[in-house]
């Protein structure tokens, strides 16, 4: 076997790091036992890592020595109570360290009978309780934090809904204003247009206070009606506008309820030619020919 090649392969470093599978570990140990040169190399590699580990030394906190030794003793007795129960007091067993630097200063191994009374035994549960307390406090803090965050979240949610509602309301209002603005713009354009002729329709003896106006553009044939005041039509009835062309009535369309109430201008059917306009009360939807007895307003073009 090529010893140098084996050393160079890196398997000894892997062994020292503990990253080898068990079978490979055993093989390394077998080879190291056979070849002193490899054993020597392995020892120096392991020693290097040991020194690195040792360089991380930390002095344990005070009080840990007693806790850990007591805990260790409790654990090994719990694991084999039958075997070690009749143990003889070994605490005072005379032992002198080979070096003076390592005296057994304070043996914690005591006769089993006195064990439960030693203060160090009570440290372990107390430490467990401390853990529990810390966890409980952490949980309470967490709950309080969650409660506050939940409330804030709820408030934010409410505020968000309110803002969204407002936003929707403003959007609707704005849309309505826009619509109104554009219809008023159109009405204004009609009213300001010099091509439109204004025809005043005065009330007939049947409705003396009635008053309306027709705006007629002979060039574009457009007809608008503008109501000042009209008696409310009976249920199921509607006002209908007629153009009179050479004495012959021509249907110009029915008035919407809002138009009859005087809310806004209404564009009617196009009329090719007319000398006068009149309105009658007809069944809803209009009639083919006017019911002259219900004529409410009438006006001639100038």
């Amino acid at each position: 076997m090529d010893i140098q090649q084996y050393i160079e392969s890196g398997i000894l470093e892997e062994y020292a790091l503990g990253v080898l599978p068990e079978a490979d570990r055993a093989e390394v140990e077998r080879i190291a036992a056979t070849y002193p040169e490899i054993r020597h190399e392995l020892n120096s590699i392991v020693g290097g890592l040991d020194t690195y580990a040792e360089a991380h030394s930390l002095t344990p906190p005070s009080g840990m020595r007693e806790r850990v030794l007591a805990g260790w003793q409790q654990a090994i007795r719990a694991e084999q109570p039958a075997a070690t129960a009749p143990v003889a007091p070994v605490a005072e067993a005379p032992y002198t360290a080979p070096q003076a630097a390592a005296p057994v200063a304070e043996p914690v191994v005591r006769p089993i009978g006195s064990a439960p009374q030693t203060p160090s035994y009570e440290e372990a549960p107390r430490r467990g309780f401390g853990w529990l307390m810390a966890a409980s406090v952490a949980l309470l803090l967490s709950l309080a934090g969650n409660y506050i965050l939940y409330n804030r979240w709820q408030n934010t949610e409410t505020a968000l809904f309110a803002a969204q509602n407002d936003q929707a309301r403003f959007a609707a209002a704005q849309q309505a204003s826009q619509k109104q603005l554009s219809s008023q713009g159109r009405e204004l354009a009609v009213l300001r247009d010099v091509q439109f002729q204004s025809v005043t329709l005065a009330g007939t003896p049947a409705a003396p206070s009635a008053k309306a106006r027709v705006l007629y553009n002979p060039a574009t044939k457009a007809v608008y009606v503008d109501v000042h005041s009209l008696p409310a039509p009976p249920a199921g009835k509607q006002y209908q506008l007629w153009a009179l062309d050479n004495g012959k009535p021509v249907d110009a369309g029915v008035l919407a309820a809002t138009t009859a109430a005087g809310d806004s201008l209404q564009q009617m059917k196009d009329i090719t030619s007319a000398q006068a306009f009149a309105m009658t009360v007809e069944d809803a939807g209009g009639s083919a020919s006017p019911t002259l007895s219900t004529m409410t307003v009438l006006g001639k073009m100038l």
Binding site: L17, N43, S44, D50, M64, V109
Partner: protein
């Protein structure tokens, strides 16, 4: 083998004889080194104390499996405690136990060592000065993090060969320091 002149063989003999008082001696002799490495891995005093105690129980109970011809007692007990600590950070029990802890604690457990980690020991800085940051990162992940070499390669996005080379180079540097 490195010289074992400082009473380690006598301690081994007493432990083999099931001398419970020898465990006190064991503690005085090894607790700082073991506790330092365990702390380096689990990062919490309470956890480290638990692991050290558990390690001592395991060392006592399985002492018959220690073979002095294969290596020093120090190496063996260090590996027992190191493996327990690594098991601890990987176990579910640990994660449940840390559920109410701040997030940064639980997330940091498996992170590779920061090169600026500085326990209260003068030797460490001198040792790590000899290692490149890359080498130290790899050796720390392997030795303290419980990573396999392939896991280190995945974690650091390096070819496996590079990880092996760095680990070997790092250990060469460390073992040269004691030759």
């Amino acid at each position: 083998m490195p010289p074992v002149s400082d009473g380690e063989d006598l301690l081994v003999q007493r432990l083999r004889d099931r001398d419970e008082a020898a465990m006190t001696l064991f503690y005085d002799r090894y607790s700082a080194a073991l506790y330092g490495v365990i702390m380096r891995i689990v990062k919490k005093e309470e956890e480290a104390e638990d692991v050290l105690q558990e390690g001592m129980v395991k060392i006592w109970n399985s002492f018959s499996s220690y073979d002095a011809s294969k290596g020093r007692l120090f190496t063996w007990v260090m590996n027992v405690c190191r493996n327990l600590a690594i098991d601890r950070i990987r176990s579910r029990q640990y994660r449940v136990g840390t559920r109410t802890q701040p997030l940064e604690d639980s997330a940091a457990v498996r992170e590779p060592a920061s090169p600026t980690f500085r326990p209260e020991h003068i030797g460490l800085q001198e040792m790590t000065k000899k290692l490149s940051p890359d080498q130290q990162q790899v050796v720390d992940m392997l030795y303290f993090g419980g990573y396999t070499q392939s896991e280190v390669a995945d974690e650091l996005n390096l070819p496996l060969g590079t990880v092996k080379t760095r680990a070997r180079a790092a250990i060469k540097v460390l073992s040269k320091l004691i030759r």
